[in-house]
């Protein structure tokens, strides 16, 4: 119960930051995928089910609010692929496993968004500026990896501090 409540508060704060704060930053920081970063951290450190719910719920809220129309698609791919890779490939809780997860899921989600954009261009005639779309996808991947590493380092440092403070030896 406590863990579920803390995760819910964490998701709420992440949504606030993703939809209201990060989108006010200049390029390229405006493309920092906060929900994907925090979702992968939860998936790696807490559990696959919790991470999947975090990613899909966060993507749904961002898409429904109109902040990022591709958020649900991206995060659904990250959740599915992340769950698979965490059990089969990146099973440890190390920084390398987390970064490997980030690269695999980030590239897949970015490719999916580019493919959807290409299909919309072909079928609906909507404009697709390939250079801009590729630059956005690249920056999103770079910021995802940077955010994952920073998040991992913060979580490890916080855990050590809390253990040192609360555990009496």
């Amino acid at each position: 119960m406590t863990r579920a409540l803390l995760l819910s508060i964490g998701l709420f704060i992440s949504l606030l930051v993703a939809a209201s704060a990060v989108t006010s930053l200049p390029f390229p920081f405006v493309y920092t995928p906060i929900i994907t970063i925090t979702g992968l951290l939860v998936l790696n450190r807490v559990g696959i089910a919790e991470g999947a719910v975090w990613l899909i719920a966060g993507g749904f809220f961002l898409t429904a609010a109109g902040s990022n129309p591709h958020a649900l698609l991206e995060n659904a791919i990250v959740a599915g692929l992340g769950a698979l890779l965490t059990t089969r490939v990146f099973a440890t809780r190390s920084a390398y496993a987390l970064l490997g997860l980030g690269v695999a899921t980030g590239v897949s989600a970015g490719a999916a968004v580019l493919i959807v954009g290409g299909m919309r261009n072909l079928t609906l005639g909507l404009p697709l500026i390939a250079e801009d779309a590729a630059a956005r996808a690249a920056w999103t991947l770079i910021l995802l990896l940077a955010g994952l590493y920073a998040g991992f380092a913060s979580v490890v440092m916080l855990r050590q501090r809390l253990q040192k403070f609360f555990v009496v030896r």
């Binding site: 579920a4 704060a21 989108t23 006010s24 719910v53 719920a57 990022n68």
Partner: protein
């Protein structure tokens, strides 16, 4: 249990008082993000770029000083004539202050505000900042919130004119980035770099003379029947966290 709490949060968001509180918190976070974004933007801007921007601003200040003198004289004349006629004009426009609670990605170019149909906001209303610069147009309205499509959105189309003229001379639309494109300008139009572009009032829900920006270049192709102009807005959409919605009080619209 986590999924159940997430579903509970989704249901709570549909209740107006809860949504109001969440909107208040979202606005606070957005203000923090806006300040951070402005500071980051200043840190990332190169010295050459700042020097060039300063030179442009100084040129505009000099030409604006002349315009201010002319406008002051015109305003004095208009005030005197209105006073002589004993004429009281009712504009029929209500101004509704609103807070921005959410910003979409730059390519989506929309923001969400915390006022909606219950507060008198209607689709098509003009949204302004800084005393008369057009920020966007209300695109979608819910009971307690609304989505505003920014003026530089690629989907936005605004009938416009040159400041000081009453005739609609072109259609302003957004394009990649924050620049605006004015199309369908008749070839005989007196338009030059530095001209101030405003709304023409052709769209009955958009009041006239709301500033869109300044012409930075005029494009003319020999085979094309119309001119095109590039317009630079005089504000950065990311810098604003509070806006004013101008709602027209005409029941027939």
């Amino acid at each position: 249990m986590f999924a159940a709490l997430v579903l509970t949060y989704a249901l709570l968001r549909t209740i107006d008082p809860v949504r109001g509180v969440i909107g208040y918190v979202e606005h606070g976070v957005l203000v923090v993000g806006t300040h951070l974004g402005n500071a980051t933007g200043r840190l990332l801007t190169s010295e050459d770029s700042l020097t060039a921007q300063l030179a442009v601003c100084e040129d505009r200040l000099r030409s604006a000083a002349v315009d201010v003198a002319v406008c002051a004289e015109d305003a004095r004349n208009a005030h005197e004539r209105a006073a002589l006629m004993g004429y009281v004009e009712e504009s029929g426009t209500t101004a509704i202050a609103a807070r921005i609670t959410l910003r979409a990605l730059p390519e989506v170019a929309t923001v969400a505000i915390d006022k909606g149909a219950d507060d008198g906001v209607a689709a098509g209303d003009a949204v302004v900042v800084d005393g008369g610069h057009l920020y966007g147009v209300v695109h979608r309205v819910d009971a307690g919130s609304a989505v505003v499509r920014l003026a530089h959105s690629k989907a936005s189309r605004i009938p416009s004119a040159i400041l000081g003229t009453a005739r609609t001379i072109g259609l302003v639309a957004g394009q990649e980035g924050t620049l605006l494109n004015m199309a369908y300008i008749p070839e005989d139009t007196d338009i030059a770099v530095g001209s101030v572009v405003v709304t023409s009032g052709l769209d009955s829900r958009l009041p006239p003379n709301l500033v869109l920006g300044v012409v930075t270049s005029v494009l003319h192709e020999d085979a094309a029947p119309f001119l095109e102009a590039l317009i630079e807005p005089l504000y950065d959409a990311r810098e604003w966290a509070n806006v004013l919605v101008l709602s027209v009080n005409d029941p027939s619209l």
